[in-house]
Every structure is written in C-alpha cells, then in structure tokens.
C-alpha cells in the first residue's frame, strides 16, 4: 500500500459518492422545472404542490452534489499534481468553462428560485428554475468533455513533457464526448425517473392505506389530519396556515387528490422510457468508439483473451451468443475484436514493458451490472406506461415494484463509471500518461490516508443524514399550498401583479 493506491481509492470513493447525487440533480432539476411549467400553463394546484414537494427533495440532494463537487476540483491538484501539470493546458480549460458558464448559472439562479417565490413575477420565477437546471446539464457537458479527453485525447501536442492544447473545438467536440454526454445525461434522467417513480409509488400506496383507514371512522380522520412527520418540517408559519385555514376543505399536508401522484408517476415513466432509449442508442455508439479507441477496456469488459474474428458476446460467464460482440462493437458480425493478451503484447512493444491490463473482474461485472440494472429500470417504465394507459389505476404491486427498484438505476450508473474509469487503467490519459506517473510526488502516504479517512467519515455521516432526511420528507408528503387563485392565462400574470399579487402569494420560501 502506498500513496498511489490510497490516492486512487480516494478518487474512487469521492467520485462515486459525488455521482450518487449528481444524476438526481441533473434529472430532477429538469423534472421540477417541467412541473412548475405545467402549473404555470394549466393553473392546476396539484402541479404546484408537486413542484414544491419534489423541489424540496431536489434541494436536499442538490446541497450534497455541490459540496462533494468542490472536493473533485481540488483533488486533481492535491493528489494528482503530476497529472494536473501535464494536462492542465487542455484538461483545465473545460473545467474553467464549467465553472464560468455552468456553475454560476446553476447556483445563482437556484438561489433566486428558492427565495424568489414571492419576489419575482411568476414567469421570471419559472425562468430561474429552468436556468438553474440548464446550468446543471451544461456542467455535465463540460466535465464529460474533460473526461472523454482522458480516454481519447484529441486537439493537443506534447511539448517539453506537457500537453499543449492546439484545438479547443476538437476537445469540445471529441467524438468520445459527443457519445458520452447523451449517455450519461440520459442515464441521469433514468435515475431521476426511477426516483420519482419510487416516491410516487410510495405515496400512492401510502394514500391508499390512509384512505382505507379513514373510511373506518370519521373521528380517525380528524386525528390523522395532522399526519405523522409534520413536526419535522421546520417552517412554523405554513403549519399555522394549515391549522388555521386547512380545515376549510383544502388538501391537508400529506394527503392529495388522487390524480396528483398519478401525474408525477406517468411523467416519470415517460421520462425514463425516453431517456432509456437515448441511453441505449448512445451506449451503442460508445461501444463502437471503445472498440476503436480503448480496445483493452472492451476486451476486459468481455473477458476476451485473444484477437477474435466474429467474437461472441457472453451475457453471463459460460453463456455465449456467437458473433454478437463483433456485431455490437463494430456493426459487423465478422469483425475482429482485439483480445487482452494480444493487446498487452502490442502495448509492451509500443510503450515498453509493463502490465497494461485493468482489473478484469471489476470491469467485466460492472459492464453486466450496468446493462442489466439499467435495462430493468427502463423495462419497468415501459411496463408501467402500459399498465396505467388510458386512465387505468396504478396496480398496487407495480407501485411496490417501483419503490423496490429505486437502487437499480443508481447502481447501474455507478457500475457504468467503474467500467469507464477502471477500464481505462493503467492510464490516466490513454496512451500518454500512466496513473502511476500522475500522482503528486510530494504528498506522503500519511497525508493521503488522513484525507481519505476524513472524507470517508464525513461522507458516511452525511449519506445517512441525507437518506433519513429524504425518507422523512417523502413520508410527510407535500405541504398544503395557498393558492386562492390560479395563475390564470400566461401573459396576464405580470400585468395583474399589482391587483392580485397579494392574494396569489405563495408560501414565502422553501428553505429557511
């Protein structure tokens, strides 16, 4: 065990952890923006309640994505200074652009959205959540362009032992990036879709149970009007509102009209199904680039030892579908796919003696987990769309399956990253820089061990806190919303602000 191993573990731990939150930020941000747009267009109150409900879950998650992201940017310099000095000229540019063009947009407009409910005209306020969500998605593009450069470096030359950028456009339109961006972003929408399906499924089941209990006695209904978990919501004012005016026939916290969760469920099913198609299509393109650009990763993902024409695909060890791997990776059933041992010999001839194999079992199994779990989630969404077609009620078993399937898309995206990054080893920059030569020369084992211990401990505690917080808010259900009048037709909102704005005020803030 030396500083290099620990630095790699630290990068793995902090990156995987960061990416538990990021997909939800990317996908859920757009989903919440969509809900608010639906409210703005239709004026239906349940869209506003859904916006606020999922908005709160989004914000709980967003915080974690932000703070763990700062670590990532510092980590390159702290643990991987040799890498950073070598690649900064090229790799630093998309990172700087990410901060300037995406993070400012995301953070500034999210602040406006959170605190602007009663400060901004409705249409401007709607625009702020879109700007923030677009910022999140834009950041995905820049960081994935940087990441793609590590797999398939383009637009540079090496001068005096440092990479020098010669063409920014080539870096930003790296074919590897253009395949990877839709793949990862769409996978993020699958994760967010899976999350909304699980939450909606839980709420549907919960409310059916509550409704069944409420039919027993009317007295029961009165006591359950203050549902368990409401004490946890910090805002005292909305609670007083609920107590004061909630009795006048308004939906109470934790309950909803029956169509509400159906709309969020159906919207998430559609989103997951469409995103699933994009993931599959862009995954196919990525596989072909991998065949050309990173043959070792492809060989490891398949456990293919020798160069093989008409290579078979094995979904599981021992099971083989003839010629399928060649067909998938080159769109030609007779194509030759390179095998690990033959690539190893070629690399030794090209780059000198060394072990150029990644950790084959991890790469092999990550590939399968990614495909199986990802496709299961997408299949579930298609099944759900069929089951709930034409106003059919959601079957209880499907709602339960949606809840149980929550971890699947997350595990699929994490497995995808393990495949992608462990499969790139032993290189940090394919064919240019080895991971062993990338680590900070001046940083000691003790320092890396200390920081690894601190981050692991802090992240562990925060993970538990985040899950508890999310579960609690999902269980508590949406807050009641004070909307005496709908937003009306789009267009009359700003003009009418003077007269009706005071009535139309929403509850002050989501956050503080």
């Amino acid at each position: 065990m030396d500083a290099l191993d620990l630095a790699r573990w630290q990068f793995g731990v902090t990156t995987v952890y960061h990416f538990l939150f990021v997909p939800l930020t990317i996908g859920l941000g757009i989903f919440v923006a969509g809900l608010q747009t639906a409210w703005h267009r239709t004026g239906k109150e349940h869209y506003l309640r859904l916006t606020k409900f999922f908005g709160k879950l989004f914000l709980i998650n967003f915080a974690m994505g932000v703070v763990t992201g700062i670590v990532q940017e510092f980590q390159f310099g702290m643990n991987w200074s040799a890498y950073s000095t070598f690649v900064g000229d090229v790799f630093g540019a998309p990172l700087a652009l990410e901060a300037l063009l995406a993070f400012f947009l995301e953070s500034t407009f999210l602040g406006l959205w959170i605190f602007g409910w009663d400060r901004l005209p409705r249409r401007i306020h709607l625009a702020t959540i879109w700007a923030a969500a677009i910022g999140s998605n834009l950041s995905a593009y820049f960081i994935l362009a940087a990441n793609a450069w590590m797999k398939h470096p383009v637009g540079y030359e090496v001068v005096n032992g440092r990479a020098r950028m010669t063409d920014l456009w080539a870096v930003l339109t790296n074919p590897t990036a253009l395949a990877q961006v839709p793949h990862v972003v769409a996978a993020s929408f699958v994760v967010a879709g899976g999350f909304v399906i699980a939450v909606s499924g839980y709420r549907i089941l919960h409310e059916r149970r509550t409704a069944a209990a409420e039919t027993d006695t009317v007295a029961e209904l009165v006591t359950s009007a203050a549902p368990a978990g409401r004490d946890t919501a910090a805002a005292a004012a909305p609670r007083r509102w609920a107590a004061g005016r909630g009795g006048a026939g308004r939906p109470k916290a934790g309950t909803a009209d029956p169509g509400m969760w159906r709309s969020s469920l159906r919207a998430a099913l559609v989103m997951t199904a469409i995103a699933g198609a994009v993931v599959a299509g862009s995954g196919d393109v990525s596989a072909r680039y991998m065949h050309e650009q990173q043959p070792m990763k492809l060989a490891a993902a398949e456990g293919l030892r020798h160069d093989t024409a008409g290579a078979p695909f094995s979904p599981l060890p021992g099971v083989e579908v003839p010629k399928l791997l060649s067909l998938l990776s080159a769109h030609d059933p007779g194509a030759t796919v390179q095998g690990m041992q033959d690539i190893q010999q070629r690399y030794q001839a090209e780059f000198g003696p060394g072990d150029y194999l990644p950790n084959v079992p991890v790469v092999y199994w990550s590939f399968r987990v990614m495909i199986v779990f990802g496709l299961t989630t997408v299949a579930l969404s298609l099944l759900g769309l069929w089951l709930t077609r034409r106003r059919r009620p959601t079957p209880g078993w499907f709602a339960r399956a949606g809840v149980l399937a929550l971890p699947l898309p997350l595990m699929a995206v994490i497995a995808g990253w393990l495949l992608s990054e462990i499969g790139r080893q032993p290189w940090t920059v394919q064919g240019e820089l080895l991971t062993a030569a990338s680590v900070s020369p001046g940083v000691s084992l003790g320092e890396v061990a200390t920081s690894l211990a601190i981050f692991t401990a802090v992240y562990g505690v925060l993970a538990i806190a985040e899950v508890r917080l999310l579960v609690r808010h999902v269980k508590a259900g949406p807050d009641p919303v004070a909307v005496p009048s709908g937003p009306g037709r789009p267009g009359d909102t700003d003009a009418a602000a003077g007269g009706t704005d005071r009535n139309a005020r929403l509850q002050p803030t989501l956050m503080y």
Binding site: K56, I60, A63, M64, V66, V67, T68, G69, I70, E73, F74, F76, G77, M78, N79, S81, A82, S84, T85, G88, D89, F91, G92, A93, L95, A96, E98, A99, L100, L101, F103, F104, S107, T108, G111, L112, G116, V159, R162, M165, T166, L168, T232, A234, A235, S440, G442, E447, T450, S451, I454, F455, V458, L462, A465, L469, T509, L510, M511, Y512
Partner: protein, 309 residues
C-alpha cells in the same frame, strides 16, 4: 499586455471576488449565535446570505478552475503543497454548505447541529484562507496564525457590517455594535499582518523596488479604519464599501507580491499554459463574464431590501 500577465490578473480578480463575497458569508455564518437571540433572529441572519452564498462560492470554483487551465503548475503545486489545510478547508465548506441548505428542513434538535456546522465551517474557512496564503508567503507557525487571525477578524467585521446593512430592527443595532467591537481586534491584527504581505521573504523586494503591494497593504489598513469611522456615523452602506475595499486591497497586496513568484522558485511565465489555451479562454471569458456579473448583480438587486424578523 502579455497573456500570462492578463490571466494572472484574471485569477487575482476571481480570488478577490471570492474573498469579498464569501468574506461576508463567512462573517455572517460565524456570528450567527453571537448576534441572534432566538430562532426568528437566526432565520433573519441567515436570510441575508441565503439567496447568494452558493453563487458566491462559485467564485472560488472559478478561481481554482482558471488556475488549473491557465497556470497548471501553480495550481498543482499550490494545492499539493497545502494538502492538509486544504482538506480542512474542504471539510469546512462541506459542513457549512450542507448545514445552510438543510437547516430549514430538519427537526429543532438537528437544527442545532446545522448551526454548529454553519458557525464552525464559516469560522474555520475564514481562518484557513488567511493561514494558507500567509504560509505560502512566509511559512512557519507565527505567520500562519497571524494570517489566519487577520482573515478571520476581517471577515467577522465585514460580515457584521453586512448584517447591519441588510437587516432591520434590534439585529441591525446589535450587528453595528458587534462590528465596532470586532474592529477593535481586527484593526491591530491588520496593522501587524498587512506589512507581512509585501515584505514577504525574497519575493517582495523593497518599497522602492516594487511599491504596489506596499501601497495596497497600507490602503487596506486605511480602508478598514475608514469603515470603523463610517459605521460609527451610521453610514452602513459606505462602511460596507470600505470593508469590501479593505479586502480588495489586501488581496491586491497578496497577488501583487505573488506576481514575483506565485510559488517559491517559480515565475508566472513558467507556470502558464500555452498561448493558444490562454488566447481562446480570453475570448470566451470576455464574452461570458459580463453576463455572469450581470445576473449576479441582479440577484443582489432582487434581494436588496433589508430582512426583517
């Protein structure tokens, strides 16, 4: 102007923006338990920075990202040589950020934990930035502690003045008194610490050789003094301008000194990326920055009113 020189100025500008903006975020966060007497006042305090702190933090992300792109050797050398202090900075920023975002969504008992995270995270980060840059200039425990004390006390004064400017009612008066009291500590610390910036070791050179950082450091002390006088006369807006100017000038002194050697034994030109990278980033930066500054300024305009309890 040569591109490396221009990008050194850009990075100095980004760090300056970060210190000015997060300076009051840190000060407000650290003063939370001192200035507020109950939950309503705690909310009032935090509502002053609530809409803006996350956008302010992006100045740091951009400063560090720009260093990575424009001066890779400076970025990697600085970050790897201040390894453990930066781990602490990151931990502090994590604790503060999560606590600020989660505070309104947890139980009363957990809210206490969030408050601990906000106070400790803000104070620690404010201390560490000064300590890290003092360590870079001088090394040694004394300089590090003095640098940390300087950035912490300056952030506290800056934050208290910001609160006096942005709140109404009893909190406003309390924040003003706190700012005046804190200035009694911050001013002597500043007078001790500020000359240390331009005089740092071999890199600074004397006043006659290279007067800029000396003048900036002197002016920083002057601005802080002016802030006290203005606050004394209840000119909160001008007092905030003066504390902000003090941070700008102190950062100018810092980067003016670092201009000679951003890291020991390294020149700006050696650390810089190639002319192509710097050139293309210049065009994109010049095109984007007005928009970024514009919408951030607009956020402050939207939330310009004093926060009431």
């Amino acid at each position: 102007m040569a591109l490396p020189t221009f990008w050194f100025l850009v990075i100095a500008f980004l760090w300056t923006g970060y210190f000015v903006l997060e300076g009051f975020d840190f000060g407000v966060g650290a003063l939370l338990p001192v200035l507020s007497r109950n939950e309503a006042e705690r909310r009032q305090v935090l509502a002053t920075i609530g809409p803006v702190w996350d956008g302010n933090e992006v100045w740091l992300i951009t400063a560090v990202g720009a260093m990575f792109a424009a001066f890779p050797a400076w970025y990697s050398g600085l970050l790897s040589s201040f390894y453990l202090p930066l781990v602490l900075v990151l931990t502090a920023l994590i604790a503060r950020g999560v606590a600020l975002e989660w505070r309104g969504k947890v139980t009363a008992r957990e809210r206490v934990l969030c408050d601990v995270g906000i106070v400790a995270g803000s104070a620690l980060a404010a201390f560490l930035w000064g300590a890290i840059f003092a360590g870079l200039l001088w090394g040694g425990v004394l300089a590090t502690v003095l640098g940390g004390a300087f950035s912490l006390t300056l952030a506290l004064v800056h934050g208290a003045v910001f609160l006096a400017l942005k709140t109404a009612g009893p909190l406003r008066a309390r924040a003003r008194r706190a700012a005046l009291g804190l200035a009694a500590v911050a001013l002597p610390v500043a007078v001790l610490a500020l000359p240390g910036i331009p005089s740092a070791g071999a890199v600074g050179g004397g006043f006659r050789v290279y007067p800029l950082p000396w003048l900036a450091a002197l002016a920083a002390a002057g601005a802080l003094t002016a802030a006290v006088a203005l606050l004394w006369r209840h000119r909160e807006g001008w007092a905030f301008t003066a504390t902000a100017a003090s941070i700008v000038l102190a950062t100018t002194a810092l980067f003016g000194t670092l201009w000679r050697a951003p890291l020991p034994g390294m020149t700006v030109a050696e650390a810089a990326s190639g002319p192509y990278t710097l050139g293309v980033l210049t065009w994109i930066g010049l095109a984007a920055l007005p928009f970024v500054l514009g919408y951030q300024a607009w956020t402050y305009w939207v939330f310009r009113k004093r926060v009431t309890a």
